[in-house]
Symmetry: C3
Subunit: 291 residues, 3 copies
């Protein structure tokens, strides 16, 4: 049965990313790089290093997945067309006279369009990563999730690492401790597409790609308009984490015992120490909520 | 000739690590992670990052050897069974109500049993690494030693690197400057098994595995009971290093000359500078010994 | 036609690096390591770590190119002969009584000879890297340039990274922000040899190797004699960068507008901020020149 809906989603899932969506992705990535303090100054002092950083911002996810799968990280350099495209965009953004691109990009509609198109490329990257990982490990579904995640959201990890090497690491920007909204939603998408690939999810891929992309674009644009970084499914997360990891009640209740017990043996104290401030943080959360 | 001794060692060398010894290894690794200050608090705030760190603690050696041999570092994720086993152990240890596992683990006999079983897995890892490296490089005995070492003791290097990336690097815990006892004894075992593999050591492998494992377990348990971190073969090391690198006498005697000489040329001073404090450290050692 | 010139360059391009030029390369690299403050002291405290650092200094370029092409980074360890050669040189330099090698190396002619021979090995490395990368990617000329560059000058990047891991990172020594003369000239050579390999440069390879090596040795020795680190082709660079990235005039002229404009929209200010200090640095440059 090919209903108009199926025809639409099928045609959508066959859209080629190459010229326009890639351009939007490079535009958003390089603009994000230029927003960093001192980036433009570095581009004047040392264009090569700035170009390298821009390439890391544009192709970071692919590089990370190549590293994780022991493929040549330089393989993205072999794709001359995309490299030249990204380089020209980097050149225009950084060295255009009168800074016209930044002027034009500073208008909201342009930003919304570019950000929406970039989110579309994210879906394609996740699907590509999952399929690629499956060609390596037949039933390694954990690997498929990891690679899809790396391709979709790995750019930020790569750029953080690059800033760490450069010495300009901003601890509030690191992805290790608290995942950004992008990392979370990309992980969700990677899980969904992996299950679809392993036939645990009885949905046709093009429908899933269409729906997930719509979800991505809608949430991204709403977050950009109502300039808040709050995650739409925070409540869902909260329930899951409470279900999985949350036994604060009996935990903090028998915290006293362990404290008292730990006075008998030397090692127990060292173990119960971190748990103590763990429950402290939990209590802090509760007090925040009650206020 | 299959004497009872041979039968015993042969049966021992055919023991499967999978269910129980691996569990002990994961238990010791994750408990070591939980002992770190703030680890439990991080597990409450961000379970995913804590899980990732636990996996690095459990599979660090394999990951390092994969990186060194340009194999996919994610390959350990393809082994779903071990991943689920380690994840469940991580889950029980961190989120068990009333912290029962830490309570039970804080008793010495349990720790001794787990640590002993973990040492047994070390031997298996070294042998596996040496054999695996030999399948790549026929007569690259240096590579065999390095891979055996990485599989056996590489976990600490990986976890140090991961702490470095996270920004929580403890310089007194780094493996670069002074090797831990584990790294030393693993290097020794890697050298021994490499020589056995290249037929320079006329001992059957199962006997060697049995003896080396016994040595590992005995030294580990004695070190845990008599809570001292002193290396049993410090004297052996001392003689070797004195034989290879120790000419303090004539060195420090002709240090004066070089000092005086170095006043004539510009570069000499920069060279003799580090050597000077080198001999200073040597002198310090001597004064320590004489006191 | 084989003129005497062709015969000379052909014979030169067939010179084997193995015994003598490699020795010079290892000698210069390990001496550069020993010049670092505290290196000799570390060699006394922990010979293994010092040996590892020395190997990184000697084989850094090859390791980096292996990493970039997803080949085993340990492959250099499989070449037992070179490893033993470099290790013996490391041993002699660090542990020779009365520090004879440093004494001898502190004389200028010896340094000039060793440095010149090391520059010769650089050409061979670049050519080897370009050819090796071409065997992977037929028309990936960007990859060829990158690999030739990595083989030729990647050692410094590797050693910087190793110092970063060790915690002893010196920000004035990092290769990211401002490229050293070596990095620049190696990049130039890599570009030249890549174009020669892709038949865009109608020069026979042995002629090119001869000329480029002569250029390398001459510039290196002149820089060592007239102890100035100024780049010979600074003027060429200046014109190119002015041609490509330099529109300071109209740029700083319409900087005012963007400043004023940026008061209307929130994001514009964040974008024009780095550009502002970019133009500041530019103005600083101008004032420097005028003084």
């Amino acid at each position: 049965m090919d209903s108009p809906w199926d025809e639409l989603t099928l045609a959508f899932s066959r859209t080629s990313m190459f010229p326009f969506f890639d351009i939007a992705h490079y535009l958003v990535s390089v603009m994000a790089l230029k927003r960093q303090p001192g980036a433009a100054a570095m581009a004047w002092k040392n264009p090569l290093s700035s170009w390298f950083t821009a390439m890391l911002h544009c192709f970071g996810g692919g590089i990370l997945s190549c590293v994780l799968l022991a493929e040549p990280p330089l393989r993205f350099l072999a794709n001359n067309t995309n490299i030249l495209l990204a380089s020209s965009i980097w050149y225009i953004i950084f060295f255009c006279p009168c800074d016209l691109v930044s002027q034009g990009y500073s208008f909201l509609p342009v930003q919304l369009l570019a950000a929406g198109m970039k989110e579309v490329t994210r879906t394609w990257k996740i699907v590509g990563g999952v399929t690629h990982a499956n060609s390596y490990y037949k039933n390694g579904w954990i690997v498929m999730i990891a690679i899809g995640w790396a391709r979709g959201a790995g750019g930020s990890i790569i750029t953080n690492f690059e800033q760490l090497v450069k010495g300009g690491w901003k601890p509030e920007a690191d992805e290790w401790l608290k995942m950004s909204y992008t990392a979370k939603v990309t992980l969700l998408g990677s899980v969904i597409f992996t299950f679809q690939h392993t036939k645990h999810l009885a949905v046709s891929r093009h429908n899933l790609m269409f729906l997930y992309t719509m979800f991505l674009v809608a949430t991204k644009i709403t977050m950009m308009i109502t300039e808040n970084g709050t995650v739409p499914f925070a409540s869902f997360e909260d329930t899951v984490s409470r279900m999985l990891f949350g036994w604060q009640q009996q935990f903090s209740s028998c915290e006293k015992k362990s404290e008292t017990k730990s006075s008998f043996n030397g090692t127990g104290s060292s173990t119960s120490k971190p748990i103590a401030d763990a429950s402290d943080t939990v209590k802090k959360k509760h007090t925040k909520k009650t206020e």
